[in-house]
């Protein structure tokens, strides 16, 4: 015997200190924020409250992007192209969407963040990354 059902539950997540700062910067300044660890000399994207490398909590925010380099991607039929992109100034990649077809892409292809006209402090304030060219 098979029974089908559904689960419907609303959630409300606090973005927290670093997450709120990141989302406010997207909304108000159309700006990507990373966090820089002086001890590791490393900048992580998106901004976070503590260093994934050394655990340190002294993590000043730094502007990164809007230019970015493509790291890897997948084309999901019907849903678009998802990619790991490394914003300029960051040492790691973040997951987002590519605007445009996956043709001719290669690791290192140059991208640029495109911001939504209506922004509300949400990750979708970045509409996606447009493809500029093949890069160096």
């Amino acid at each position: 015997m098979i029974r089908e059902g559904s689960i419907n539950i609303p959630f409300l997540y606090a973005a927290g200190k670093a997450g709120s700062e990141f989302l406010v910067a997207l909304r108000d300044r159309q700006q990507l924020l990373g966090s820089h660890c002086p001890a590791c000399a490393r900048t992580v994207a998106p901004a976070r409250a503590f260093c994934p490398g050394c655990g340190g909590e002294e993590m000043p925010s730094v502007d990164i992007g809007p230019g970015a380099a493509l790291v890897s991607w997948t084309d999901v039929p019907g849903r678009g192209v998802f990619a790991l992109v490394r914003p300029d100034g960051a040492d790691n990649a973040m997951l987002h969407k590519l605007l445009g077809p996956a043709e001719g892409l290669r690791p290192g292809s140059r991208l640029r963040a495109v911001f939504a006209d209506e922004r509300q402090g949400h990750i979708t304030d970045i509409e996606g990354f447009e493809i500029l060219g093949e890069g160096s």
């Binding site: 015997m1 098979i2 029974r3 089908e4 059902g5 559904s6 689960i7 419907n8 539950i9 609303p10 959630f11 409300l12 997540y13 606090a14 973005a15 997450g19 709120s20 700062e21 989302l23 406010v24 402090g121 949400h122």
Partner: protein, 150 residues
């Protein structure tokens, strides 16, 4: 403190569960207002819900025994607090009575709704009987609730 951002996300997830043979037979029985338990050949415990193995003896269970739709109220409460039911996304308002019922012929108790929701009229040990829905679907909520017998 700078601005705090919160992000709302609605979980709306579909599920598909398979019952296993024991629960399939039990659920089919409900369509005919028939309740059956599985009895352990080791400890003689009559299990509701029926299941493949006795949790105490670890023996496989295969002996079906009939269970009445009448029983004794072992424990009860009346819930006043509204409750968000994830199956529907709707709020279930209070007050509603709930009981743990030992059906005649079973050793485990069954939790279900009670027709009575006045705490002054409920007591441990009362006799109760299942009130069945008009349309039976082969599910636990084929029993609407249990009514108190005089």
């Amino acid at each position: 403190m700078s601005e705090r951002i919160s992000v709302a996300i609605e979980m709306a997830q579909g599920w598909r569960y398979s019952s296993g043979d024991a629960m399939a037979r039990f659920s089919e029985g409900l369509r005919r207002k028939r309740i059956e338990a599985l009895q352990c050949g080791g400890c003689r415990r009559r299990y509701l819900p029926p299941r493949p193995v006795c949790g105490n003896c670890h023996l496989p269970l295969s002996d079906w025994v009939p269970v009445s739709d009448k029983g004794t109220l072992e424990a009860w409460t009346v819930v006043f607090l509204p409750f968000l039911d994830a199956r529907t996304g709707e709020v279930r308002d209070g007050p509603y009575g709930m009981g743990l019922i030992r059906l005649d012929g079973s050793d485990a108790t069954l939790n279900h709704y009670l027709a009575e929701n006045d705490p002054a009229r409920l007591a441990v040990g009362m006799r109760v009987r299942a009130v069945w829905r008009e349309e039976l679907r082969g599910a636990m909520d084929d029993i609407l609730h249990f009514e108190i017998l005089p």
